[in-house]
Symmetry: C2
């Protein structure tokens, strides 16, 4: 769940929840000695520490916000330069129907090729909410953590991505060749739900380059505040939809807001929406009741159940409840069952309701329009397209066919086998850093990894990287540069983890 990454579709609040999930875990103090052959590279990492931090700061200085179409072109150009500087020999800007993507390759003449997924955009900011200006990338002392860089994009995703690029600089600085070839795809619309990322990945030259890779990873700050790491073997899919009920489209009710006394003789689009919504879930609001929606939901396998049972023993239920501010799980289930539901249950959630008068007190109107914002989470073998079709058919069948269903974003579920080589390699590197990762069958959040794990590529995909940060999508986003907690890696430790990972992937069986 530490890789519940980036996008309106899986906010960092979730990351913070998962941190607290494992808060009660005790890890052995970190013991990490360089494998003998990597010592010269490790030395380069230390020597280049300041350069690495400055590169990250330069990157943060450049806003690149797709939602506001702000600095995206400049952010793309800067990212392309940083990739070239780090040794990518072919770096191409790929136009899309939205913001451009980047396709980059580094042929080291190695046996294996590893895929990489980068994002170069960041979330919007409200500078007034920040204790240090979001584009300043100031180095700040943070109690209990050490020195951090504070700024928009610090952890999501420039810090981890900069740490990965620093690994390439260190390897080259030590006079070594990269142990694997690299194929990188980047997008500038991750924070608006990656609407054109499939376009970018499905270009013939990109598919051709990705097809032979051993898998894909995105650099991330995988450590929770106490150093713990969770690895998920995939992620739920999601569709985000707006249900819009209007008098005009319905052909009943008013075309503009009218005085509420008219309810006695005029139909209400707001009630129409409420009754439609009520039909989508069980009376307690917990179980999807959309016809056919979950027909293809694959139940947990015995292996997945066993994985969850192990995780349940290691994760702290009370810490999770406290972090979420809840006293009971749905249906008052146990901790293990709650985790099973989280991993395996399709959901229908209300993100927001808005219609008519929303200010203080009341206003006697009969609104002509009401909107519900929903997200529906999907598990294999459900698909975003089928979920949308099921929702629409359900509404039509019950007399709510006039309610507009606007899909604002969506991903298919993502699955990567527990024993995929790129996952085993992660586990090995974490293990050498003294960390025994918790495995979970699936992230309950979502990311655009389906573009890699689904057809036609069917690659393993996940997130990887030591290091810690927080505040993605929130004020005071940070990434740890120098850690005062021995269980937590600063940026140099993160860079080392990428050096190790590249070598591990190169030699893994």
């Amino acid at each position: 769940m530490s890789n519940a990454n980036s996008s309106p579709i899986d906010r960092r609040t979730f990351l913070q929840d998962s941190t607290a999930l494992a808060a009660a875990l005790t890890l052995p103090p970190h013991v990490w000695t360089a494998p003998p052959d990597l010592a010269p590279i490790y030395a380069q990492i230390e020597r280049r520490h300041d350069e690495t931090v400055q590169r990250l700061q330069e990157w943060i200085h450049q806003p690149s916000i797709a939602a506001e179409n702000r600095g995206v072109e400049e952010g793309c150009e800067l990212t392309m330069r940083l990739l070239r500087d780090a040794g990518f020999t072919q770096v191409t800007k790929l136009p899309s129907s939205g913001q451009p993507g980047i396709f980059a390759t580094l042929d080291a003449g190695a046996r294996r090729t590893l895929g990489l997924y980068f994002m170069y955009d960041v979330k919007q900011v409200d500078p007034a909410e920040w204790s240090s200006p979001p584009w300043d990338a100031a180095l700040v002392d943070k109690s209990g953590l050490g020195k951090v860089v504070m700024g928009r994009g610090a952890v999501n995703q420039k810090g981890p991505e900069a740490a990965f690029l620093a690994a390439l600089h260190a390897i080259r600085g030590a006079g070594r060749k990269l142990p694997v070839n690299l194929v990188l795809v980047a997008e500038g619309e991750e924070e608006i739900g990656s609407p054109h990322f499939p376009e970018i990945v499905r270009r013939p030259e990109v598919l051709a380059a990705l097809r032979p890779t051993v898998g894909i990873f995105m650099p991330t700050a995988a450590q929770g505040r106490d150093g713990e790491v969770t690895i998920t073997c995939g992620a739920k899919g999601v569709i985000e939809v707006e249900l819009v009920s209007t008098g005009a489209r319905w052909g009943r009710g008013p075309r503009a807001d009218i005085h509420s006394s008219n309810k006695a003789r005029v139909d209400s689009p707001a009630w129409h929406l409420v009754q439609a919504l009520a039909s989508l879930v069980s009376p307690d609001g917990n179980d999807p009741a959309i016809d056919g929606f979950a027909d293809k939901a694959r139940p947990l396998s015995p292996e997945e159940r066993a994985m969850i049972a192990t995780a349940a023993r290691r994760l702290n239920e009370n810490a999770a409840k406290q972090s979420l501010g809840v006293e009971h799980w749905v249906h008052d289930v146990s901790w293990t069952e709650a985790l099973e539901l989280l991993m395996s249950r399709p959901t229908v959630n209300i993100e927001g309701l808005v219609g008519g008068y929303t200010g203080p007190g009341g206003k006697t109107i009969l609104p002509h329009r009401a909107v519900a914002k929903l997200d529906l989470r999907l598990v294999p073998d459900m698909t975003a397209a089928e979920a949308l079709a099921a929702l629409q058919a359900h509404l039509v069948k019950r007399g709510f066919g006039d309610i507009e269903v606007n899909m604002t974003g969506g991903y298919d579920p993502t699955s990567t086998p527990r024993d995929a080589m790129v996952i085993r390699a992660q586990e090995a590197v974490y293990g050498r850093a003294g960390i025994d990762p918790i495995f979970l069958p699936r992230n309950a959040g979502s990311w655009p990894g389906y573009v890699f794990t689904g057809d036609p590529l069917r690659l393993a995909a996940g997130h990887f990287g030591l290091g810690h940060g927080s505040g993605a999508h929130a004020p005071d986003e940070y990434y740890v540069i120098e850690s005062t907690n021995p269980k937590l890696q600063g940026i140099d430790g993160a860079v080392r983890s990428y050096v190790d990972y590249l070598h591990e992937v190169a030699r893994a069986r």
Copy 2:
């Protein structure tokens, strides 16, 4: 419906609807000669025209907005001075738990005493929306109407109230005695739902003064744009409530917004609200389904049905539908049935829905709180207190007892007999002005008249006055000063209607 007056609880949008309702009525051109004995008073009205307009302009210049606590004290003092200037001999400021009320009496030594209800507050403004600044009270030419005064409070309610005061000035100016004694109560919180008006009226000295009155009226601009007048024999009651569903109060769901993926294991206060709402009405959203809510609703009497049948023939269904922007009435009923429902049907209406993320696109949260704003309209013999209790009991019985029910305003229904003397006197005056008013059993909007018509006073109460204005609660509110439409009275005609009305009340049987 022309007296759908003033308050968050019955917006002027309703007034505008009712204007269009009767738009197709044709009235005979106005023929109005002064009864011989009133000619000297009529002459005074004309002579004092400029003074009357200036008094109204001075009144509009003084904002008095309870919702913003702006100028209320000054507005109260100014109103008291205007009452004294018009001849009220006893004018007292009455403190309340909110803004002060005014109690004023004028003992003319007459046989009968008439009650008056004034408001001295006005609705908020957004000056940017006005074509002439709202406190300027500028005289503006308005196409098809003539010269109007434009400003906040022009029609709601300072224009009609100033016209009434001008009637007192004219009678005194002609050397006449008032034909009736007057008892006036005024409030400064009408636009926030008259929360403390019962306190003011129920003071022993006020009750003692009101008890012997023949009834109560509020000056109003009762004419629609084509001169037509509708008289309603009472008004529906109303309660406005907020239903607030929160995880904290429920004891389930989160205490703050959390990542939406948690829906799989965490209860949703938003779904809890939706399911509670769905239980309040029939599946089509049209019929209240709150247990016991409408048990005391009195069906229409044969006389009331006859009154509506007559009104239905005179009112234009297509104009009403067009004005409301609707193509069908609920249940596809006929025009007569639609009017019957409007007058007689208790309602449960959604004014607004707000919870979680309400901005553009989506945001993947599970909100900890969701709110529905409702208004419930009541007919005799329902009461506001019983409606609230029924709603609360209904929710408790269905497992929604944790949902907070905040009542933000409410009035009992108001009823005045069709043949009450103060109503018959209205009809007589309108008739002499060439107007055959449409009678309706009830206004579907609401006003605080229940304070007069209910216990302990049980007085007849209504609105009265020739003249026309519009835009109450909206920008460019106006009141006609000099009418170019012979069917429509300007301010002098309004003043004459009050002179006539006082004499009619004095001599009516």
